[in-house]
């Protein structure tokens, strides 16, 4: 009964919120962890029209503001997972519900995740309940070249309402997963050559397009109109990558793969983000010198026979100590809710807690170039805020309140509904 009452309250709250978007919200009595190193005891966070308006110990609360009493609990920025398939897949093994991986072609740079995200996915509330407010959604990563990723806030009726930015990265995969069984490329060297050739083809297409465009300009006014050039979406999609406007997220696990990623980035002057570089501990200097950040989903990798048992538990610590910027990721949909567990394990094996928290908030925001909007609780940023009843690195801690774009989001997913539905069985 109690749970039903909470659920009803949540539904009512949801209805109220949707009709009162432009309201002012003040979170009071919070132990506010801003995310830039500052902690404000007994602080107030003032939110207006979805943005953070003020933060501090002595913030004046306007009349009519909705008050949320944090009761001394921790108030943190919403966590960000910078590589997920949230909204793209409902049931992984049920193909009709899975829109990740257009694996019918080897290079699909023209795939746009934003066009397949389901804002009503049951994965979204489950993810939010763990204090995660923002995710990068990738189109999959089973191809050497996969497509364009979008970064979204986990609240909204349409993708447009959720979008922070579309096309923020192109996703490459240089690992064995991108290899084909019976066709080219079926080896690592094949994958590397394929990616390079595809980039050269795109460069030549871009040069040809530019040339045609300038010729068209010169011939303007001529009676003889040229046929417009036939467009190739796949090649066009790689032009912003070649120009350095859009970074490449490149999954590369082994030494060979990481070397290839760095070499390809250099050859084509790409901006790169390394994804899941398991063997990074063997080549920290090279990665550091490249200046590329790392998305780390390796914490729970299983060590090989030559690696110590804690090799991957402590990988984040090694990357941090080398001065390489990094963020944690799950690379998942259904398990994004366990993002903070990666940080927790890393801290257990030596990562300073502050660095761990940054790797869940401001670091992923910086890597995705959205740090002006999210990642800390600073004035002017989007009000993505989680109230926690304990340290987020503790596995027993709960998120007790969550705001996305200043909206008080009910912490109810399909899983709480199922729990409540079967609460009274056999009684």
């Amino acid at each position: 009964m109690r749970r039903k009452a909470i659920f009803l309250t949540a539904v009512i709250a949801m209805l109220m919120v949707s009709t009162a978007y432009a309201e002012t919200v003040a979170i009071i009595n919070g132990n506010i962890i801003v995310g830039n190193g500052t902690v404000i005891e007994n602080g107030t966070l003032l939110i207006e029209d979805g943005l953070i308006k003020a933060i501090g110990a002595d913030v004046e609360i306007p009349d009519g503001a909705t008050l949320i009493d944090a009761g001394g609990m921790r108030v943190l920025p919403g966590f960000i997972d910078p590589c997920t398939t949230v909204g793209m897949v409902e049931v992984r093994a049920a193909q009709m519900t899975n829109d990740t991986n257009e694996a019918t072609l080897t290079a699909t740079p023209h795939m746009r995740a934003a066009e397949a995200i389901n804002p009503d996915s049951s994965v979204i509330p489950v993810t939010r309940n763990a204090g995660i407010t923002t995710v990068l959604v990738v189109p999959g990563n089973s191809n050497p070249i996969n497509g364009q990723a979008a970064v979204i806030n986990l609240c909204g009726r349409t993708v447009d309402e959720m979008l922070i930015a579309d096309g923020v990265a192109q996703v490459f995969n240089l690992t064995q997963r991108a290899q084909r069984r019976d066709s080219y490329p079926s080896t690592r060297m094949g994958v590397f050559a394929f990616v390079r050739q595809t980039l050269y083809d795109a460069r030549s297409y871009a040069e040809q397009s530019a040339k045609t465009a300038s010729e068209d300009e010169e011939s303007q006014g001529d009676d003889e109109r040229k046929q417009p050039r036939k467009r190739d979406l796949a090649k066009e999609a790689l032009i912003p990558v070649l120009k350095g406007d859009v970074p490449v997220i490149a999954e590369a696990r082994t030494i060979q793969e990481i070397r290839a990623a760095l070499a390809i980035a250099k050859e084509f002057n790409l901006r790169m983000i390394l994804l899941n570089p398991a063997h990074a501990y063997k080549m920290l200097d090279e990665i550091k010198q490249s200046g590329y950040p790392v998305l780390l989903g390796n914490t729970f990798n299983f060590p090989s026979d030559t690696e110590p048992y804690d090799c991957y538990y402590s990988l984040a610590t090694k990357i941090h100590e080398a001065g390489i910027p990094f963020a944690f990721t799950t690379g998942s949909a259904h398990s994004v809710r366990n993002l903070a567990e990666h940080a927790s394990m890393a801290v257990t094996f030596g990562l300073p807690p502050a660095a761990a928290l940054e790797a869940l908030t401001i670091r992923p925001a910086e890597v995705l170039a959205i740090a002006d909007k999210v990642g800390t609780l600073e004035v002017g940023k989007v009000a993505n805020v989680a109230v926690w009843d304990g340290c987020p690195l503790q596995l027993k801690s709960h998120v007790v309140r969550l705001l996305i774009k200043g909206k008080d989001v009910p912490l109810v997913s399909r899983q709480e509904m199922l729990r409540d539905k079967f609460e009274d069985i056999g009684k």
Binding site: P303, T348, F349, Q394, K396, I425
Partner: protein, 418 residues
């Protein structure tokens, strides 16, 4: 004859302690917070292990001269963790997926004692596990309940006189595997029809052998029935010499299975995964079946879509014996972290959470007479943590099996180190 064997037994009983005294090895884990799981928490306690068995647990335990002392000051002493569902150390031989029923195969035949995954699990405080056939077949093979004696002998790993469990599997895995080959089963109906037919075949086979033996006893001539290894195994099942752990997901198949177990008087001890169990927990509780499940897995296939992290608590409140198991070499290394998450979702006590990976697992595997808690007389299987095992920042620092140090964080090994 009987007199002689009695005399021999007596002689052995008299000699045995002497032999043990000769090689007596005493380990005292001293000064830690002892989490007995079954008898509460003892601050600044000692666990005394003599010849592999727990000889004393308490505050005022006299440490005999010559004992090896392990200083656990500031640390937490837990019974060795037990993984009730694992597929490690089998050399990749997990599914004999050539027929939907293969009760004749035995996991004990393929254990690889020097698998590095065993050491990884030890580094996560795990000391015992059930090494299982996979879920490709409706009737898989005979699982092996073992101690994780890394680089030991298989014979030493197998826990003596334990009833082993036969793996069965319902739902999507056998459906997909055999259905895609145009073979039965391609539906849940097919799975249950196949299972029921096999059990009837086993009953018939058993009756044939019984009739044959009766005739021999009566001094009559009789043709010996043909030995069939698979049906032999199923006869052992009908005779309760082995038991069942069944992989299942949705609640309708759980109920159908419970009914078949009733119909054939099957020793159904464990339901693995069983994500739909919370919907029919009264039916499960009534029959005393354990549920071996996971904390927060869901959505990876259709039959896992209704899985909820609140289920373990709902099942426990119904009186069901619940364990959190790994089904994965990775998760096996951090079962204590999975148990901590059950506290988050289900609001259970710390002792209840620790029970999920210790005594409850021991009960599900029928080894609770020797494992699963720190009690006098049980095996000296111990995991020592630097913080409380449910603290998110804890790590296992030492693991002992029967008093022998199997993992020490100060002397970690890779698979290549001897």
């Amino acid at each position: 004859m009987p007199t002689l064997s009695k005399k021999l037994t007596l002689l052995l009983v008299l000699l045995a302690p002497a032999a043990l005294c000769f090689a007596e090895e005493i380990v005292a884990i001293h000064g830690g917070t002892v989490l007995t799981v079954t008898n509460g928490t003892i601050e600044n306690g000692t666990v005394l292990i003599r010849d592999g068995k727990i000889a004393a647990v308490g505050v005022d335990v006299a440490i005999p001269d010559g004992a090896v002392i392990i200083d656990a000051t500031g640390k937490f002493v837990l019974p060795g963790i037990i993984d009730s569902h694992s597929h490690i150390a089998l050399g990749g031989d997990i599914n004999e997926a050539t027929s939907p029923t293969t009760a004749q195969v035995r996991m004990a035949d393929v254990i690889v004692p020097d698998s590095y995954a065993i050491y990884q699990a030890l580094a996560g405080g795990v000391t015992a596990a059930k090494l299982m056939h996979g879920s490709a077949n409706v009737i898989g093979g005979l699982n092996a309940t073992v101690k994780l004696k890394y680089r030991g002998k298989v014979e030493e790993m197998l826990i003596p006189s334990v009833r082993q469990q036969l793996k069965m599997a319902l739902g999507e895995n056998p459906k997909r595997l055999y259905g895609s080959k145009g073979r039965m089963p391609s539906t849940r109906m097919g799975i249950f029809a196949l299972l029921r037919q096999k059990l009837l075949d086993a009953q018939h086979y058993k009756a044939g052998w019984e009739a044959y033996r009766k005739k021999l006893e009566e001094g009559k001539e009789a043709a010996q029935p043909k030995r069939d290894l698979e049906l032999d195994m199923l006869v052992d099942l009908l005779d309760h010499k082995i038991t069942i752990d069944c992989h299942c997901y949705v609640h309708q198949e759980i109920v159908a299975l419970l009914k078949i177990a009733d119909e054939f008087d099957l020793p159904l001890l464990c339901l693995s995964h069983a994500f739909g169990a919370y919907k029919v927990r009264d039916e499960i509780a009534k029959r005393g079946v354990s549920v071996l499940t996971h904390t927060d897995w869901w959505g990876y296939k259709w039959e896992a879509f209704d899985a909820i992290p609140y289920a373990p608590g709902m099942l426990m409140r119904e009186g069901i014996n619940v364990t959190i198991c790994s089904d994965s070499g990775d998760v096996m290394r951090r079962l204590f972290r999975e148990a901590a998450k059950v506290v988050r979702y289900c609001g259970i006590s710390d002792d209840q959470a620790l029970a999920l990976i210790t005594i409850n697992a021991a009960k599900a595997l029928e080894i609770d007479d020797r494992c699963g808690s720190l009690e006098v007389g049980k095996d000296g299987d111990v995991a020592i943590f630097n913080r409380h095992p449910l603290d998110g920042l804890t790590k296992c620092v030492m693991t002992l099996i029967e008093g022998k140090v199997m993992f020490d964080i100060n002397a970690p090994k890779t698979a290549l180190d001897r």
